[in-house]
């Protein structure tokens, strides 16, 4: 039978009540906390029973201390005197347990506890506010893109995964800060009456955030079709894991060697900064290499595009090459095809036809309208002489030649129709951009090849 156990329950920093409840439940199951590390909480087997726990903070302690200071030991002695034994400590956080039936709590003056938690949170709140702002900006821009530019956003596994993580980060930061300040407000009032208020953190939301992060990365690794990108992602994750392990290893090694708090903090931070910089350089180099070698680009050459210049014009030319860039998720699949003859293979003054088209398959019907709007207004930022009117505008045309539900033709400067069309079939949108005028027959042929 196992006599050691580990778990990782992410609690809000101030949520002493949640932590104490969890530890009491573990003790009732026969597990007593014996160590806390950055990787989780470690337990040893005991006789199941009712044990009281107190999670408190000793503000002068540091995670870089080689061992508890004399003052900290004196505090532990005080607690021991009233039956509270130290079971684990991590930095400022000190966890005590007491096996008596009705022990005197470690904290009996609510105003002091409030003051202590306030001081502890003062160091954490700036970081949490920074995360909140980052989460708001990134998550907000992700939401804006969802309604305004859904195609690029939802067809890319990377955008989908990172967007979900940013949104969860924002939600957790906002909820956690709200919970903390609500608790603080209530605790202040209660402290005047000499009463304690139990804390209530956002443990479930934090768990959800971690789950979304892990699932997003897993989805990203599984869904992304670019093998080189997958390799870069894996290396990046391995790099972060290595950074975490090395920094923790250095800190713990220096603690074992009884290095002073200042020395330990200085060396650990230096190692952290240097390794983080090296990691960033490594990631940038990896991406640069991947992009220049073409292994993390989703662009590839294909031989059998759905529609080609040859099919439309009937002119065969072996110099044509077609590049395809595809991205897909369970929301949207986007494929862009570009057929051309490379410049170096063209003869001077030779006039050759090019073909560029994008096929957007919308797998969830509620997104269709947003995608259509994006394609209709994609060029709205271009302005001509009239600053109030977009230079390029789609005008609805008869969809019959395309056999589609709706069709649009792009007009230039409000007076000249171009050869660019947006065709809307059920579940599929196609933006067709040949550099030559299409006849009715060519339209029918294109529709036959491109319709779903």
């Amino acid at each position: 039978m196992k006599d050691r156990k580990w778990d990782f329950i992410p609690f809000s920093y101030y949520d002493r009540t949640g932590m104490e409840r969890h530890l009491e439940q573990r003790a009732a199951q026969g597990w007593l906390l014996e160590r806390i590390s950055n990787l989780g909480w470690y337990y040893r087997r005991i006789q199941p029973g009712k044990i009281h726990f107190t999670v408190t903070h000793y503000l002068r302690a540091s995670q870089f201390d080689p061992e508890p200071t004399e003052e900290q030991r004196e505090f532990h002695d005080f607690c021991l005197q009233s039956g509270w034994k130290l079971t684990a400590a991590s930095g400022q956080m000190q966890v005590f347990y007491n096996e008596e039936d009705d022990p005197v709590p470690i904290d009996t003056e609510p105003a002091l506890e409030l003051e202590r938690i306030g001081k502890m949170m003062k160091r954490i709140l700036p970081f949490q506010f920074i995360l909140l702002v980052i989460g708001f900006c990134m998550g907000g821009s992700w939401l804006w893109s969802l309604t305004h530019r859904p195609i690029d956003l939802l067809s890319s596994a990377y955008n989908l995964a990172t967007g979900a993580i940013w949104l969860m980060l924002f939600l957790w930061c906002a909820a956690d800060l709200f919970r903390y300040f609500t608790w603080r407000h209530r605790a202040k009032k209660a402290a005047l009456l000499g009463e304690f208020v139990p804390t209530k953190g956002c443990q479930k939301l934090l768990m959800a955030m971690l789950a979304v992060t892990v699932l997003s990365f897993a989805y990203l690794l599984l869904a992304d079709r670019k093998p080189g990108f997958r390799l870069v992602m894996l290396l990046m994750l391995a790099g972060y894991a290595l950074l975490f392990l090395v920094v923790n290893g250095v800190k713990n090694f220096l603690k074992r060697r009884k290095a002073s708090r200042t020395l330990n903090r200085g060396i650990t931070l230096a190692v952290d900064v240097v390794l983080a910089f090296a990691l960033m350089v490594g990631i940038a180099a990896g991406l640069f290499w991947g992009l220049s070698a073409g292994v993390i680009s989703s662009m590839k050459e294909i031989l059998d595009p759905p529609l080609s210049v040859e099919v439309l014009t009937g002119v065969e030319d072996s110099r044509y090459i077609t590049r395809c860039q595809a991205d897909s998720t369970f929301f949207i699949t986007q494929r862009n095809f570009y057929q051309h003859i490379p410049f170096e293979e063209r003869q001077a003054g030779e006039n050759v036809a090019f073909l560029d088209y994008t096929i957007v398959d919308v797998h969830m019907s509620f997104l269709y309208g947003w995608c259509e709007e994006e394609l209709l207004h994609d060029r709205d930022d271009w302005r001509g002489d009239d600053p109030d009117t977009p230079y390029y505008q789609y005008v609805e045309i008869d969809p019959t030649p395309w056999g589609a539900e709706r069709a649009y033709q792009l007009w230039v400067g409000g007076e000249m129709p171009s050869s660019t069309y947006l065709i809307c079939w059920p579940g599929r949108l196609v933006e067709l951009e040949p550099d030559f005028e299409l006849t009715q027959e060519q339209m029918a042929l294109a529709a036959e090849k491109l319709a779903p």
Partner: protein, 107 residues
């Protein structure tokens, strides 16, 4: 609105200072207070530790000796003044009570 620190004392602060009218170490206070109050007042170890530090910082008590990790303290003049101020406040409260309800009800 939070009250200014130590302008009025809570019951726990009052008894800690009262215990320190004679030199004693922190851990002894934890036993003396329940004995003094018949178990009515109990001071948590964390609260006692923090209050001793804050009283010392405020100059209301001073450290007299340290035997290993056992530090002893005694009340200073400022501490005595605060304590007697609190005593007068409690007496005034008791007086007001008697004024309202009379001596009879007190018995």
């Amino acid at each position: 609105m939070p009250r200014p620190k130590f302008q009025t004392l809570t019951e726990q602060m009052y008894y800690i200072l009262l215990c320190l009218s004679k030199e004693c170490c922190g851990m002894d206070i934890m036993e003396r207070i329940p004995a003094m109050t018949g178990g009515r007042v109990r001071v948590g170890s964390g609260t006692l530790y923090n209050l001793l530090e804050q009283f010392a910082e405020a100059g209301m008590i001073r450290e007299t000796k340290a035997e290993g990790r056992r530090r002893s303290y005694v009340l200073t003049d400022k501490g005595k003044e605060t304590l007697s101020g609190e005593y007068r406040r409690i007496c005034a409260q008791a007086w007001d009570y008697r004024t309202v309800f009379g001596e009879e009800e007190q018995r």
